[in-house]
């Protein structure tokens, strides 16, 4: 029956074709094009590209803004991953301890920022961060504290962006954790209680191990999405300023390409970032696969 098997495979590929073709055209082709472009000097309008070899990469290695952006992105990715993995887990465990309609109230309220568009969330926070009229500094003034100049001070701007991003994105992970927690069979806890396990032991030896696949998913998606989630807040709140202090890799690529019109240079930065995150994700998968127990 080789003919029938071939037919089944062909039909399978046919079903796959629309998604695969679109992915190839809009994901893989740009990846290749961008990698190629990184060896050229191009200003977005000139009809010719000038080949420059590795000059873009060499210049990048000596660019202060690039290293600052790299440090900031690492800082933000670490903070975002820590806060939007641990806090939602804590909240999900807490919410499931509540019974009755209060549970639904908490769930709806905690998920609500996720529904708002990032641009609108940033506009609201932009106003709240205002050093004189903003509500944050007004409240701090009542408490006798001189509030920071949130967005115009080099040390606090990146943290302001992180606060907004956490506020806007933690609800998604919270919902995924609730689903993960509800999927743990109740018999497991009963068996544990019969054996005389304490609440802490139940959490440590039943909840955490059985939740590991959920945690892996949340951890990886949060980490991979963190530079992308930073773009809109950076654009609206600080434009990478003051003096590059809140810049990050995604925004730097945009600046190089579409503000300075150095597309080849921007492509070199994009290629470096792509390889960096590809490598980090591969490392995470390698370690996670050995630790996570999928229950099969």
């Amino acid at each position: 029956m080789p003919g029938r098997r071939w037919r089944a495979a062909a039909i399978g590929y046919l079903y796959l074709a629309p998604a695969a073709a679109l992915t190839a055209v809009f994901v893989y082709w740009p990846l290749v094009a961008s990698a190629t472009l990184s060896f050229y000097d191009w200003n977005l309008v000139s009809p010719t590209w000038a080949a420059v070899g590795f000059a873009n990469y060499r210049e990048l290695a000596h660019n202060r803004a690039f290293w600052l952006a790299l440090v900031n992105t690492a800082k933000a990715a670490a903070a975002l991953t820590a806060l939007t993995v641990l806090v939602p887990l804590l909240l999900a465990v807490a919410v499931l301890r509540v019974t009755g309609w209060w549970r639904n109230v908490y769930r709806v309220v905690l998920f609500s920022p996720t529904v708002i568009s990032m641009a609108i969330a940033c506009a609201v926070w932009l106003w709240m961060f205002h050093p004189l009229h903003g509500v944050l500094n007004t409240l701090l003034r009542y408490a006798g504290i001189q509030g920071p100049r949130w967005l115009s001070s080099g040390s606090s701007a990146i943290w302001a962006i992180i606060i907004v991003t956490v506020w806007k994105t933690f609800g998604f992970n919270f919902v995924i954790y609730i689903a993960g927690l509800l999927a743990i069979p109740a018999e497991m806890y009963e068996a544990g209680r019969v054996d005389g396990a304490s609440e802490r032991q139940l959490f440590r030896h039943i909840t955490l191990p059985l939740l590991a696949p959920t945690t892996l998913f949340v951890f990886l998606t949060t980490f991979i999405l963190s530079p992308q989630n930073l773009f809109v807040p950076t654009q609206i709140l600080t434009q990478g300023g003051p003096n590059e202090a809140s810049n990050n890799l995604g925004y730097l690529v945009y600046q190089l390409g579409f503000e300075y019109f150095r597309v080849g240079y921007a492509s070199a930065a994009a290629t470096v970032i792509f390889l960096l995150f590809l490598g980090l994700t591969a490392v995470q998968f390698y370690f996670a696969e050995r630790r996570v127990h999928y229950g099969r």
Partner: protein
Amino acid sequence: MAGKARWVHALLGVTCVAVVFPMFWMLSTALKPPPEIFAGTFQLWPAHPTLVNFTTAMTQVPLLRLFWNSLFVAVAVTLAQAATSVLAA
């Protein structure tokens, strides 16, 4: 057990207030007349609520057109993603 439940409610209650506050503040500021917005004092709810900001927004930018564009993009993206993903899966 009751003491424990109270702690859970306290934790969730405080978190919820912090999470909702920016959205509440958006609504409160939208209803404030401009002098109250710039007063520099903390005012939870406008002393003289007004809809004047909404009229300004509706007349000075093509808000309905922007709404329509957002809706159109959202629906188109959802349909296209569902169509390609269903076939692929």
